[in-house]
Homo-oligomer: 697 residues x 2
Amino acid sequence: MTRFAALLSLLLTILTTGASAAADPSQGQAAATVRSPDGQIVVTLDAIGGHPAYTVHYRGAELISRSRLGLRFRRQAGLDEGLALGQVARRRDAGEWEQPWGERRVVTYAFKEITAAFVNQADPARRFQVVVRAYDDGIGLRYLVGPDAVGEQAEIVDELTEFAVPQDATAWWIEAGLPNRQEYLYRTTPVSEVKRAHTPITLRTDDGVHLAIHEAALVDYAGMYLKQLRSGRFEAELFPWYDGIKVRAQTPFRSPWRTIQISPDAPGLIDSSLILNLNEPNKLGDVSEWVKPGKYVGIWWAMHIRDRTWGRDGIHGATTEEAMRYMDFAAEHGFDGVLIEGWNLGWDGDWYRNGDVFSFTEPYPDFDIEAITRYGHERGVRLIGHHETSGNVTNYEQQLEGAFALYERLGVNQVKTGYVADAGDIKRLDEDGIPRYEWHDGQFMAQHHVRVLESAARHRIAINSHEPIRDTGLRRTYPNWLAREGARGQEYNAWGNPPNPPEHTAILPWTRMLSGPMDFTPGIFDLRPNERPPVDPSMGRNDPRSRIETTLAKQLSLYVVLYSPIQMAADLPENYEARPDAFQFIKDVPADWEQSITLSGAIGDHIAIARRERGGEDWYLGALTDEHGRSLQLTLDFLREDGAYTAQIYRDGEDAHWRDQPTSLVVESRPVRHGDVLKLDLAPGGGAAVRLRFDGR
Amino acid sequence: MTRFAALLSLLLTILTTGASAAADPSQGQAAATVRSPDGQIVVTLDAIGGHPAYTVHYRGAELISRSRLGLRFRRQAGLDEGLALGQVARRRDAGEWEQPWGERRVVTYAFKEITAAFVNQADPARRFQVVVRAYDDGIGLRYLVGPDAVGEQAEIVDELTEFAVPQDATAWWIEAGLPNRQEYLYRTTPVSEVKRAHTPITLRTDDGVHLAIHEAALVDYAGMYLKQLRSGRFEAELFPWYDGIKVRAQTPFRSPWRTIQISPDAPGLIDSSLILNLNEPNKLGDVSEWVKPGKYVGIWWAMHIRDRTWGRDGIHGATTEEAMRYMDFAAEHGFDGVLIEGWNLGWDGDWYRNGDVFSFTEPYPDFDIEAITRYGHERGVRLIGHHETSGNVTNYEQQLEGAFALYERLGVNQVKTGYVADAGDIKRLDEDGIPRYEWHDGQFMAQHHVRVLESAARHRIAINSHEPIRDTGLRRTYPNWLAREGARGQEYNAWGNPPNPPEHTAILPWTRMLSGPMDFTPGIFDLRPNERPPVDPSMGRNDPRSRIETTLAKQLSLYVVLYSPIQMAADLPENYEARPDAFQFIKDVPADWEQSITLSGAIGDHIAIARRERGGEDWYLGALTDEHGRSLQLTLDFLREDGAYTAQIYRDGEDAHWRDQPTSLVVESRPVRHGDVLKLDLAPGGGAAVRLRFDGR
């Protein structure tokens, strides 16, 4: 199938180099147009008034008004004015490719593309290119800048790419540039209220068109956020280096793709593969032997609820005895790994913002890492490694090879990394040993993450980055980049300042998760407010609001709704043992999928997703709602027509409510077939999780 | 008096160089303390953990928690860690000085000061100084950096100064970094909701202490805004150069003062002279012959209400005939000047963001500038010049000398400048002719404004800057800098998107106006919604909300409340001729003052200010309220005890209301004496203006 697809792709490729635009380029009035294969999306490039710009029409109407393009540099004149449209090359391609793991095994693509030259009218030797790709589910555009435009070295000080979106749209967004990186509650506002937004930012126009603006293939460039200039007109802003330069590049270079996903409805945004399709193919070859999707437990939630401490200034969580207890629990219930945080020297005292305290090779004396990994190996459970850097990247990079080599020797093949530091406060030493402070989403960190991935790959290790750079689909190119954080996860429910409201997980699929898998760490079963005193008084009192604002059934639904190839069962073992009925779903649900279909949804209100297990016939369905109870009727038209299935339904009890009765759960089974309608009643803050077990034809 | 004051000052100055801090500097644990003369404010400097920091106590309680200090550089290691407190020099001074024009003639001051060295522990030759001044009404602190700290050249990439304010405070603020520069409605929020704020930002704690954070003496540095890092902890951010560098400096250099005004009540903030006291004395000598406070009219509002156009693509406003009509009106009613916008070539078409279109020496052919100025001269009225740059600063600087020379020859001694461009979009050409784009509040513009002031001074011209760099009290050093805009002025009421709400002018005195005089342009008498069609259809339709949300009496009160040495009567002559009763107050009220006293006020609610005319015995009183009507009882204890006065009261009629009856006005007179209580009933959105005419002893 894949080989055939590649052949098909080759046959469909039509390369029209040298075709020039219709009008006289010296007039700067020419326009070049590219249409999506289905003809619904039309992108036009022009250089009216000497300024390069693009416009997007969708279904015959203007969707993105004429929006400027351009780059400015520290030393050279900007590529933003005095330009004419020059030669335009055309290409089209279609086909499919296979993911080693993912929300769907086979990803299809079909696009038309133009590569347009913009030529300096005063000095025609000075030129650069803009590539535009139009897919049926959105567009990508990027800059290609060679030495004829700016010489050998370029320091970008400003990218001018605009996105002039419909002014009547509703926006879901978080503000960019604030200390907590991307960890904020999403806001739902008229587009006019957005000032600076991280991407993906998601918009719904008054006539129901859904858009999401983001970027793809951020490899060696600065991450982008959007600033609203005036009514609906956003401009790309780049996170700078410490000295204000946005991007340091050697020519030729190409920018990441600026992407606009476009869908006539909400589910279409989620089922789009635009971001993945705009990334380069797998550079690591066959990773199936060492990059393993799977489920894990860990010594983690205990610290967030302040029952244990990372270091030894309270009650140390990462002890040999506790590690073995988790290993036993994992083995008994079929989990692949045990994440243990606080295992290494450096967690005592004020580790946060306090210098280069962490050793990545020295365990605490009460954590016998050799014995623990041996114990796990005998039981078929791997230790999941943990590297918290506290944002001190030089300290981490200096130890990187040794740290991964240690883990490789111990059979660890997955590492969670952490960059807990204020945004803009990533510390590194420059070549003179001077501390410099960088942004999590700047070019330095883009480079750093690739260094980590490549070093990890040499040691057959996969990475799960917390406080990461934003996801732009690099898992396609580096399939050992399993997941990231990059939004408010479960731990905010432990601290309660405030906890995530019920709508949070009804927004994430259309915002953060458009960019890629998130390690949200679902599955908290103890849904009571956390009123226990912390074991270390210096941690401060638990916030009285700390609790999980979901029902138990909704916690289960997250395993399907929030896609990640690694899914944690985040609660304490004793809390799972207390609810074997609910726990069964977590034990059953896979973390790798053959296909995924968004059945229903409205941003911030509710969502229902179905996924078929990789290499199997069982389907899993997750549905959840915000603070309002609601009833969903889902047609099971994705099941095989010739199959018999048993629906194992984990649903909210009749009296369930996130506030009063969060653990009221009904588990029931019944036979279903293709085309049946499954009615699910979701409680306020509730959800449902369903296994559709294939019983044969 | 002034000579005596200088002598007094000299006598009080105690210079204690070489006094070192109490503890061992090598420990980095020493602290140095300075108290305000009244002992109520205590500032402590320390270097705990190697990080320089300060703390402010007020009336025995901590007001500003320990807040970091420090600078980081592009090439050199930062001055922010590994430091110990070294030698501390002490000084105190008190005295008074005279303003050539202003809200008060005599300004008094009294402070204590420490200059503390912070010494690199690894390399003690590497050191810099922090100067802290404690006045009774607040503090200032600044950095002194010499070649021993960073060599000859420094490029600052980050200033770390923090302001850890009380978390329970209410804040009045506008967001920094948005396209409309400082022209936004002030927000009233818990301090936690502030993200990035322009200064002055004003805070009121739960126990009623009022604070305002700002800066003084911004001469050759980047302007500052504040970013909230976490609960109540703000960090200074600097507006960058186009390439991200914040400040380019040659050592030794000193930063502007970072200022915190502190007052036990709201009026105290306004009556503080902290910002002026922290600026350098007059560099221009005696300017009394050519820098003239005064009142003016102009061809300006007609364009904003779209009855006239700046250029000739509608109905040109700046014609010879219209200019002479305004000259006649000014002469008849005692105005000093006539501002005329749109007099010079460049206004046709899309002048905004459209290149270097303006000539500053070539009038439109229908504007006979020679005849107009001659006509004015014969009537004792000066033309007020106008230089709109549309943010193209190189174009302006290239014409600057010629432009001022032309005006000087024509007897023009005041010029309104304009920098209409999006924030961050000030265009200049660098030494290679490459366009660079700068911030209105960045170092380039700080330098530009000084260049303009110095050039203007050579031609005996005073400046009124619109879309300016923020005011930091430079009028003391350059007394030809009369006023600025730098906030939402009257013109927003013409456009109505939305207009300024009634509370706007009850917030300005405690925010924008703490920094210095604002050319708000009060005095609109036609208070109906603007429903006329624009003369140039391309301007777009007038917003149906466009109107002035005040009563007529409140328009009059603004001449007293909103201090400026130049006050416009902004409406059309015919609208003044229709209301001679109200107009009389504008004709009477001076624009230069002997003293000013804030009688009463609460931020955003109401304010009452009394001012005595410069060189006279008459007092003027302005009072205004927000959208709520209220009654004020003001004790006239500022009048001479031996004087007889007539209160000429311009107040809201009983049925007045900004929405329904804005022009309901009562003018009445009655005798008053020292100690009388004046009761003023203010309508919703209303105000009162009172002349307290001295009738002799």
